[in-house]
């Protein structure tokens, strides 16, 4: 038996009462914790940093510059769907374990397009052309890539891209970009000034069928042993190069109409050519070309056997997100890649929920069906 009396202890579920000050203090702690968690969540979601560059801002700027064409892509809005087959020759397996490079055929859906957010502009020779491809191997490992017919990309960072969208937009007063703003931009971005010179100096082909389309961004191929190399890739046409006429054709869709007519006669073919980077070749700067002597591997043939207007084609509702990649192909440290993925996703969400206008370019089959 204890000699000293134990202090009076409260019963279970009846802790000692709190003073009013203690209650208020504790309520304050609870409020503070809730507030901090909420603030952290708002910070993560960008609500507390209005200056942060977000995907929404980039898509909004496209809409400010080009207007909104409901249902259309915010960039590369004018386009044509195609269907085809990628015949892999197995050579890609030397550098990547992606199943798309196993020898054999992979069905493909793709899209030819013109850069810019306005789907009804007439075709001109100098407009940047693009080819987007979705490889659909049977194992469900999609590979999507969007390529342009320019040798390098005009900017190296998402921030510069965002700025450049506004700088190169036509001034409403003159209909042309403001030369002073352009000069200022190029002074701060010499890499862009150089890249634009290369882009302007490119040889422009007469059509989509004899054009070369480049990934521009670098990626990494990973082989079966886990060895990783930096790569860029291109779709190189079978058709010989023929220079574009100086003036656009009579039809406002003449580039697309020419392609529709050609594919109506016979399949148009491209080779997927992978350029292997060497240590030191920049992977984080799409404004810089790699030396021309780099090893190039022809990994297979893309045969395009059908084209369809976007109103009936399978490409309209595909987001050609460049980071939809199979195992064996990985992003490089190019900051444009994550930005493209984020912005394309936001743009896709917006246009997916909009009612769809008819395609800017239609194919004969669609005309008959209408």
């Amino acid at each position: 038996m204890p000699e000293t009396p134990t202090p009076k202890r409260p019963r279970d579920d009846e802790p000692p009462p709190l003073s009013l000050i203690a209650v208020l203090l504790r309520l304050g702690i609870i409020g503070l914790v809730s507030l901090l968690v909420t603030a952290a969540f708002l910070y993560a979601g960008g609500w507390l940093s209005p200056d942060r560059l977000t995907p929404v801002k980039v898509v909004d700027r496209f809409e400010q510059v080009d207007g909104i064409s409901a249902g259309f892509r915010r960039n590369h809005a004018k386009g044509l769907c195609f269907a085809g087959v990628f015949q892999s020759n197995g050579q890609g397996l030397r550098v990547s374990r992606a199943s798309v490079f196993d020898m054999g055929e992979v069905p493909v859906v793709g899209r030819f397009a013109l850069a810019g957010g306005q789907p009804y502009l007439p075709d001109t020779p100098q407009m940047v052309r693009s080819m987007a491809v979705r490889f659909m191997p049977a194992d469900g490992e999609d590979w999507r890539t969007g390529m342009n017919d320019i040798p390098v990309f005009p900017v190296s960072t998402p921030e510069a891209f965002y700025e450049q969208l506004a700088v190169f937009a036509p001034d409403p007063a003159t209909g042309k970009p403001d030369p002073a703003r352009m000069a200022d931009f190029f002074a701060r971005h010499p890499e862009s000034a150089h890249a634009i010179e290369l882009i302007k100096a490119r040889a422009v082909s007469s059509g989509f069928h004899n054009d070369t389309f480049n990934s521009l961004d670098a990626f990494r191929f990973v082989d079966a042993e886990g060895k990783s190399v930096a790569v860029r890739w291109s779709m190189v046409p079978d058709a010989p190069f023929e220079a574009a006429a100086a003036a656009p054709g009579a039809d406002k869709n003449y580039l697309f109409e020419d392609l529709i007519a050609r594919i109506g006669q016979q399949p148009v073919q491209f080779h997927l050519v992978v350029t292997i980077g060497q240590p030191g070749d920049p992977t984080n700067d799409a404004t810089v070309a790699w030396p021309p002597e780099r090893e190039r591997i022809d990994v297979g043939t893309l045969s395009i056997h059908a084209v369809e207007g976007e109103d009936v084609g399978a490409c309209r509702d595909v987001n050609f997100d460049p980071l939809v990649l199979p195992a064996g192909i990985e992003p490089s440290d190019d900051p444009l890649l994550s930005a493209r993925s984020a912005v394309y996703s936001r743009s896709f969400w917006r246009r997916a929920g909009e009612s769809k206008d008819p395609s800017a370019v239609t194919t004969p089959a669609a005309d008959k069906g209408a």
Partner: protein, 182 residues
């Protein structure tokens, strides 16, 4: 006696594991929507984490049915009992709904539902752009709802711990059999 006032050890383990995963997921999701440079690596975590949460919440539901939670304190007012039960079931519903809506949304996209490397989940919906847009919006709204429900859950837990000082907070938080004041 004391053991009856605590959740079973496996229940507590699942609760705290999922607390960390779900909270991380809410922040990753919010971060993705507002990120340019961090978008891709956040997305590569978002999908496997979502699948992990879906599997864990299924295990947790089965565990809850097999090992029911301890009774709420006898003195707890009726409205508090209702709020506790309703918010818990709402948390369960949202922990199921968010990953499933995410999976369905990617299916309708159509995006390959890449979990990791070449592990790709099959689509659970056919391609439908308008449906994608609706489900994407639903994913966003449910995520906000989950954050608010989590906030209410956290606030209520702290009220029990610091103000009411009943057995509720200790039933999940304590690793000791007896609360310290007993």
């Amino acid at each position: 006696m004391a053991a009856a006032h605590r959740f079973p050890a496996f229940s507590r383990f699942l609760h705290w594991l999922m607390a960390v995963l779900v909270l991380a997921m809410l922040f990753i999701g919010a971060g993705m929507t507002a990120s340019i440079g961090d978008y891709h690596w956040l997305l590569t975590i978002h999908r496997p984490l979502g699948l992990a949460i879906l599997i864990l919440v299924a295990i947790r539901l089965i565990n809850r049915l097999l090992n029911p939670p301890p009774p709420l304190p006898a003195a707890m007012p009726g409205w508090q009992r209702f709020a506790a039960k309703a918010s818990h079931w709402l948390l369960y519903i949202l922990m199921f709904a968010l990953p499933i809506v995410g999976w369905a949304m990617l299916s309708a996209g159509p995006y390959p539902v890449v979990v990791w490397g070449s592990f790709v989940l099959p689509p659970i919906l056919p391609q439908d752009a308008m449906l994608f847009a609706t489900l994407r919006e639903l994913h966003r709204i449910l995520a906000y709802l989950l954050f608010l429900t989590f906030l209410a859950h956290l606030g209520a837990a702290l009220l029990h711990a610091l103000i009411f000082r009943d057995s509720v907070f200790q039933s999940m938080a304590s690793w000791r059999a007896t609360p310290p004041w007993r």
